[in-house]
């Protein structure tokens, strides 16, 4: 039963993606919708992403300073640990998990609401490829904007670590900066962007899928919104593991 269900949803998800990435009826309309989505996802999520990132950096700094206390490991390593843990793991993963909750649930509710109010039927009857018009701009917008948000998150986290460690006197300004500049591996940034792009694709397509095929009333819409977050989160964590294995193995 589980396998049958899984195969059914995978098949329908794949077919939806096939229909979504087809030639637009009017490029300008898709461009306009993509810009709107970029604004919603990017500007709309900037504050929450910034806030979370600053605390991620701050907490990492405080906890590593606590753990390194009394050991022979130099204190400046804290800057290095914050930079790399943020770039490799925390910025892409935590940001995308948060975005799955904020952006993903919003997408599922928006498309699901349109399905229930017959807006999608209305567009279909006009001759619009609704899967393409409603999903492709969201995916493209997310693929462009989410990596940018992740880069901002990584930068803000390093600042957050600095604010938690230096002004409080836990370590010196020079030590922190030395740590941030030590042992830099540019490939880690590539890994961050690979993760950001894969997670962005997963969270938007899974959320759109949940909304696009919603049936019933407000309870089902709520369920679709919840499923969008839950399945996006699970798939992001699974992809995180696979990317880690593939790119660091």
């Amino acid at each position: 039963m589980f396998l049958k269900n899984f195969l059914y949803h995978m098949g329908r998800y794949t077919m939806m993606l096939g229909t979504s990435f087809s030639r637009p009826e009017k490029h300008y309309m898709y461009y306009k919708e993509t810009m709107r989505q970029m604004n919603d996802i990017g500007i709309g999520s900037l504050i929450i992403v910034g806030l979370i990132s600053i605390f991620i950096g701050a907490v990492t700094a405080v906890q590593f300073l606590y753990q390194l206390d009394g050991t022979l490991v130099p204190t400046y390593y804290v800057g290095y640990i914050i930079r790399d843990s943020t770039i490799i793991e925390l910025a892409p993963t935590i940001t995308c998990l948060v975005l799955a909750g904020k952006v993903g649930s919003n997408m599922a509710a928006e498309i699901g609401g349109m399905r229930q109010k017959e807006h999608i039927d209305a567009m279909e009857i006009m001759g619009v490829n609704t899967a393409a018009y409603l999903i492709m701009p969201k995916v493209i917008a997310a693929l462009v904007v989410i990596p940018m948000l992740v880069a901002v998150a990584a930068f803000v986290s390093v600042i957050g670590g600095y604010l938690a460690a230096v002004p409080t006197g836990m370590m010196s300004d020079a030590e922190y900066i030395q740590g941030v500049r030590s042992f830099f591996e540019p490939f880690n940034v590539v890994m961050m962007f690979v993760k950001a792009i894969v997670f962005a694709f997963l969270l938007t397509t899974i959320s759109c899928y949940q909304g696009y095929y919603v049936r019933g009333g407000s309870i089902e819409l709520g369920q679709a919104s919840t499923n969008a977050v839950v399945f996006s989160d699970i798939m992001i964590l699974l992809a995180d593991y696979l990317i880690a294995v593939l790119l660091t193995g």
Binding site: A122, M126, V128, N129
Partner: protein
Amino acid sequence: MIRAENIYKSFDDNEVLKGITTEFYPGKTNLIIGRSGAGKTVLLKLLIGLHAPTSGKVFYDDVDFFSLSKKEVRSIRMKVGMLFQASALFDSMTVEENIRFPLDMFTNMTWKEKENRVNFCLERVNLGKVNDNYPSEISGGMQKRVGIARAIVLEPKYLFCDEPNSGLDPKTSIVIDELIRDITVENNITTVINTHDMNSVMEIGDNVILLYKGEIAWRGNRDEVLHSDNEVLHDFMFASPFLQQLRDSALQK
């Protein structure tokens, strides 16, 4: 013209339509009537292609709709306008943007041409100065009219209306009915209306089919309704004692 040929439609074990064969004519208001659950909405959605039949065919001017490719279906749908029961206007767009949407999507008209076409359609449905309002800021009757304006903006050959009078007062219902009939006649559109409004049948029923338990129980026009001795039709049209009295007195006259 639209022709349905021996249409069957089932959902799991529930057979909703049983061998529907009928024709819908251009320049006429073709009504599908029947009680709730009779299969009206399923038939309408099937005619537009939102449902596929279990068996049977639908022809748009001799073109078998369900044998067409996706691209060909889209080209037919660009000739179709639809008025939904709840109007289905896009909430995030103004009235003008709603009506302009099909023009933006499918035409290469200039901004001025689109503006003129939108204003023409709004005037045609007797709406003025609501261009910048959002659907939530106008009444239900006005929303229906905007829905009609959007449905006719691409000058459709076929117009489908799902319960156009639901939720409207009797006076507004008559206005909407007359509007649909006038537009149908003016533009020689094949209009199919799904309704259970008795007034609509008597006002604009050029070609009426009555669905009962998934089958056509009666067909005719508004002039034949009063004189028909079909029991299913009588039960549906003159359900209350008051309406039965009205019918009797009309027949006596």
